[in-house]
């Protein structure tokens, strides 16, 4: 138990030191540290400890990204342990590959940024939702490419994350306007394209993102504007929600609310699900994918 508390501390420290790091990357880094310090004698014991550690992390931060990062790490352990049945050898290989994996996924955001900014044309008006570090990177790359464009950001209540995004864009000298969440329909006729980030990309090719994304997607479909999603590949998660109610409760609400509140019906969900039919293209570090290509990628990994 002491170990698990140290794990959570490490995780929180990661996020404090580098607020720009993706939560899944921080989670995987913490899990790798945990792996290094783990004392189990067998591979089965190692897996059990890891599963418990991942659960503990999910209790701290209930976002989809942490869950997908954790599942990916578990899969990574299974795959490596299949190749090297001997524990000590296996552990060394795991640690080596883990470091390599971490290095690669830290570069994912850069790759996505490079891919996507070519889709932003000069004079474009972009609409985005809430605060996404990947979208910020994309816009940063486009601005560095000397493209002129303006950005509309939704306020994104209840935490006003949109205002944070507007501040960051302002620091990059990009003209930005904050609009009300309710003004998405009003502003849609003015914009040329919509770019949003994602907390999780599900098997069907749909995305799970801050509440209000689904609304924006429906509006953009009605106005025939392209709706682009930018996400790194470690956000791919093995969920297949058929509608909004299908998304598990543990993702919808913040971790502390899940623990304290009795009747979840009175709480506001923090995320919603956008089905693949509303998404034009997904930009990931694995390339530019159509929503139907996402399930292919997941199958390649998990089967």
């Amino acid at each position: 138990n002491v170990d698990k508390n140290k794990l959570v501390e490490y995780f929180r420290a990661q996020i404090r030191e580098d607020p720009d790091v993706a939560s899944a990357v921080a989670a995987i880094r913490s899990l790798l540290e945990f792996l290094k310090r783990d004392q189990s004698e067998t591979i089965l014991g190692l897996r059990e400890n890891m599963t418990k550690a991942i659960q503990r992390l999910e209790e701290t931060d209930s976002s989809v990204a942490v869950s997908s990062g954790g599942e990916l790490f578990l899969r990574f352990i299974s795959l490596t342990s299949l190749e090297h049945p001997d524990l000590s050898q296996c552990k060394n290989v795991m640690i080596e590959r883990g470091e390599l994996f971490l290095k690669k996924i830290s570069l994912s955001r850069g790759k996505v940024g490079k891919l996507c900014h070519t889709f932003i044309k000069d004079g474009a008006k972009i609409l985005t939702h809430s605060s996404s570090r990947v979208v910020l990177k994309v816009l940063e790359n486009a601005a560095a490419d000397n493209k002129r464009f303006t950005v509309y950001v939704t306020e994104s209540q209840p935490d006003s994350a949109g205002k944070l995004m507007a501040q960051k864009l302002h620091n990059l000298n990009i003209p930005v306007t904050v609009v009300l969440d309710a003004a998405v329909g009003y502003i849609m006729e003015k914009v040329d394209l919509v770019i949003v980030g994602a907390e999780g990309v599900v098997e069907s090719g749909g995305v799970i993102n801050k509440i209000g994304t689904y609304q924006m997607a429906v509006c953009s479909k009605a106005h025939n504007k392209p709706f682009y999603v930018v996400a790194e590949s470690f956000k791919f998660v093995r969920l297949y929600p058929l509608n909004q109610q299908d998304v598990p409760d543990r993702f919808k609400y913040k971790a502390d609310i899940l623990k304290t509140v009795k009747d979840l019906n009175q709480e506001h969900p923090m995320i919603d699900y956008t089905p693949p039919s509303l998404i034009t293209l997904l930009f990931t570090d694995l390339g530019v994918l159509t929503p139907s290509a996402v399930s292919d990628e997941l199958i390649k990994l998990y089967l």
């Binding site: 590959r97 690669k104 530019v288 994918l289 292919d296 990994l301």
Partner: protein, 347 residues
């Protein structure tokens, strides 16, 4: 010296091909039809592989990439040239991997799985020398050429499954693939064809003449009548200039109108396109414009725009029929990953 002769001969051929391509743009060249262009490009690439000086796969890829860039610059709207270059580059990569005995040849794309299991750098700079690489690559290119020769036949063979008796089929302009497709079905079925003439070059007229020679009942309509006639049509079958990576099309102007009319009437839209037309480009880079002969009075006072191609989004297309079978537009990305390597998307 024989070596120098070969090189000059090779560069002469490349120059001749380039000038053909450039002239083709104004319709004066002899390379008509994308199938011809694809075949010529592939033969030229085979010649380059056989005659140019290279010692390892990396050098060969550089040479082919350089020539490929020159060829695509000569006629950017003819995407089959770039596609064939990319196919040959993929062939070289595969043969190289096979010579190395690598088991990863099937998994050259980035994937989550690869991220998790690769131990150490998988950077391949193709610098190893293999004696049989040249022969293997040339053999593979020969296979590609055989495949190219059989494409129209493979597509026409599927005609009977899609065309039924007494159907009314609409098409636009002139596509050799669709012509062969319809003629093949006409041998066993009786159906009507409506051809939209596709102004300003009115290639639909040639298509109609050619079809009626095979005893197919043909009607020619002006482009403006497409929507009006659509309610009587059972299927729309069209060809295209390029198939884009998202499943969309770059086709002759008027195709988008046709596709929208078909969507409105819930008429299936079938695209007959051979695999060599599949291009990794996604967005419209440019729309070539022609300014043909207009009465002098208009030209001096008015701007005339006549785009040659249309973009058709993937949502309007029902089925792609290619030489490897029928596919949905959402599946095109998969076919793309099998034909080209992601690093070759940008030549």
């Amino acid at each position: 010296m024989p070596g120098a002769d070969k090189e000059t001969e090779l560069s002469e051929r490349i120059e001749a091909f380039l000038s053909e391509l450039k002239r083709c743009g104004s319709g004066a060249g002899s390379l008509r039809g994308s199938a011809e262009t694809a075949r010529e490009t592939t033969s030229l690439l085979r010649r380059i592989t056989a005659q140019a000086r290279w010692s390892n796969a990396g050098d060969l890829m550089e040479i082919i990439r350089k020539e490929g860039r020159r060829m695509t610059a000569g006629q950017p709207s003819e995407t089959t040239v770039g596609n064939m270059v990319r196919r040959v580059l993929k062939i070289i990569r595969e043969e190289y991997a096979r010579s190395r005995g690598s088991t990863e040849e099937a998994d050259q794309q980035e994937s989550l799985h690869k991220l998790l299991t690769s131990g150490g750098s998988s950077e391949d700079n193709f610098r190893q020398h293999f004696t049989h690489l040249k022969a293997n690559v040339i053999e593979a290119i020969n296979e590609l050429l055989t495949e190219l020769e059989g494409t129209t036949d493979n597509i026409s063979m599927q005609a009977l499954e899609h065309i039924h008796s007494n159907e009314v089929i609409m098409t636009i302009g002139r596509s050799r693939t669709v012509e062969a497709f319809l003629k093949d079905a006409a041998r066993k079925r009786k159906f009507h064809v409506i051809v939209a003439e596709c102004a300003p070059f009115c290639q639909g007229h040639e298509m109609a003449t050619s079809l009626s020679k095979e005893d197919i009942e043909t009607t020619v309509i002006p482009d403006a009548a497409i929507f009006a006639v659509m309610s009587r049509v059972n299927k729309v079958i069209i060809g295209t200039q390029t198939v884009l990576a998202n499943g969309g099309l770059r086709a002759v102007n008027g195709t988008h109108t046709l596709a929208l009319a078909a969507k409105h009437h819930s008429t299936p839209l079938i695209v007959c396109a051979p695999m060599f037309k599949l291009s990794p480009q996604r967005i419209q880079i440019f729309l070539r414009s022609f300014c043909f002969l207009l009465p002098g009075e208009i030209l001096s006072k008015v701007n005339a725009h006549c785009p040659v191609f249309d973009y058709v989004p993937p949502e309007l297309i029902t089925l792609f029929i290619s030489n490897i079978g029928g596919n949905a537009p959402s599946y095109i990305y998969r076919l793309m990953s099998e034909l080209y390597h992601p690093e070759d998307h940008e030549l």
